[in-house]
Symmetry: C2
Subunit: 224 residues, 2 copies
């Protein structure tokens, strides 16, 4: 359901090229839980942005549910994105909205009625342990609380794909385990396809397959 | 050299009070390496902000090198801050400056000559492994690279105190070890006093003493 073929991404800094991805071939099947490990700067976040159709490759293809993303119009692409929940490495929460409003945002984009949106957002914030922080804005929350709001927002539209970039980087091990158990249940019960980028090797146990990225290439693959 | 007495910090959200710190007594001696652990939302970042004299307590005192911070004028306080290097949880890099300029910033505030600033910034960026990312702005760097720029910037003014909030949250274990070895050398050779907030229990081995914070109070203390 998620595929890349000879995927390359080259950034240009002034006229200096930086190759973030140098030919990545990847195939993730429906309901799979895949982990991506790799050193800082190896291209993990860049790969996630490609899989979420948020950025365009320099060359190569990205296919989501069999469709080549580069052939889609802007409106087709944003319809596709509604099926993808993404937890960014630095959250990208909206500063002037409170926690509940941030979680409601993807639902208001897809025209869910106001009361239903509100109820869904409150349920998700309770699920991640933030029932008494619903009206805090991002700068009134701790680092780990912001990360949990970002996860709740990614889950709001009941996505078929969940892409997570360091989902527990700012959270203690106990809270991290609770969140991972939640994510694992989604994977097992609702067949949500999950790609998780992490540095925390202890999280690799949740996934069936682990890819190691180095300088923009997959150098190792480990399956259980 | 760093002390707090019955330190309280209460935030007001509208008219709802949130107690982030509820009476913290702490004494850190010169050249000590102290780790602070605790669940998400327990008050760790708030405590660091108090120790860095960046925020004022609701009640209680903060003393840095024997001086009660609340008795200082603004200009005395900013002179004191030059001795303190801080690595924020989300870096607070300046978006329109590149990596080198961000690292130079504390040196330009203290009127270090331009060429000397430039050389020092380049040395530090090499030390943290970013010699080929010097002219990237924060949004042209990966998460872990930004974190390393933030560490290099905190070290630029040769601080006597180094306060670090999740210094390895976005970095792989190999890079993290290299950075921690660097920090440990500063502590042993230059007697830099270090307070490090982390969720990563494997980092506690670098410190002699570990404090556990829960709901704004110190609930446990472990010394080697
Ligand atoms: N401006 C604010 N207004 C209201 N509450 C706040 C504000 N800033 C922080 N808080 C609350 O204070 C508590 C402590 O926050 P702090 O950032 O110190 O936690 P932390 O231990 O660093 O957590 P983490 O490990 O998640 O970063 C949190 O529960 C947070 O919601
Ligand atoms: N806009 C940009 N312009 C130039 N180079 C960039 C840009 N964005 C990213 N890079 C470079 O591309 C490389 C890959 O970045 P990416 O964010 O994918 O790494 P990562 O594996 O997620 O690292 P981390 O674990 O530190 O978050 C990095 O070396 C980075 O410096
Ligand atoms: Mg990244
Ligand atoms: Mg914090």
């Amino acid at each position: 359901v998620l595929e890349t073929e000879s995927l390359q991404k080259r950034y240009l800094l002034g006229n200096v090229p930086v190759d973030a991805l140098c030919g990545v071939d990847l195939a993730v099947s429906k309901g799979e839980f895949l982990t991506v490990l790799g050193p800082s700067g190896s291209g993990k976040s860049t790969l996630l942005n490609m899989l979420a159709a948020l950025d365009t490759p320099t060359s190569g293809t990205v296919r989501i549910a069999g469709t080549d993303v580069s052939t889609l119009s802007d409106s087709q692409r944003s319809l596709l994105r509604r099926k993808i929940g993404i937890v960014f490495q630095f959250f990208n929460l909206i500063g002037r909205l409170d926690a509940r409003e941030n979680v409601e945002l993807p639902l208001s984009i897809s025209n869910t009625p106001r009361l239903e949106r509100k109820k869904k957002a409150e349920e998700l914030l309770e699920l991640v342990g933030l029932n008494d922080r619903m009206h805090h804005r991002p700068n009134e929350l701790s680092g780990g609380e912001r990360q949990r709001v970002a996860l709740a927002r990614a889950l709001a539209p009941n996505p078929q794909y969940l892409l997570m970039d360091e989902p527990t980087g700012n959270i203690d091990s106990k809270t991290a385990k609770e969140l991972m158990d939640l994510v694992e249940t989604l994977n097992k019960e609702r067949e949500v396809t999950i790609v998780m980028v992490t540095h925390d090797r202890s999280l690799a146990k949740y996934a069936r397959r682990t890819l190691h990225l180095l300088d923009g290439k997959i150098v190792k693959e480990v399956s259980k």
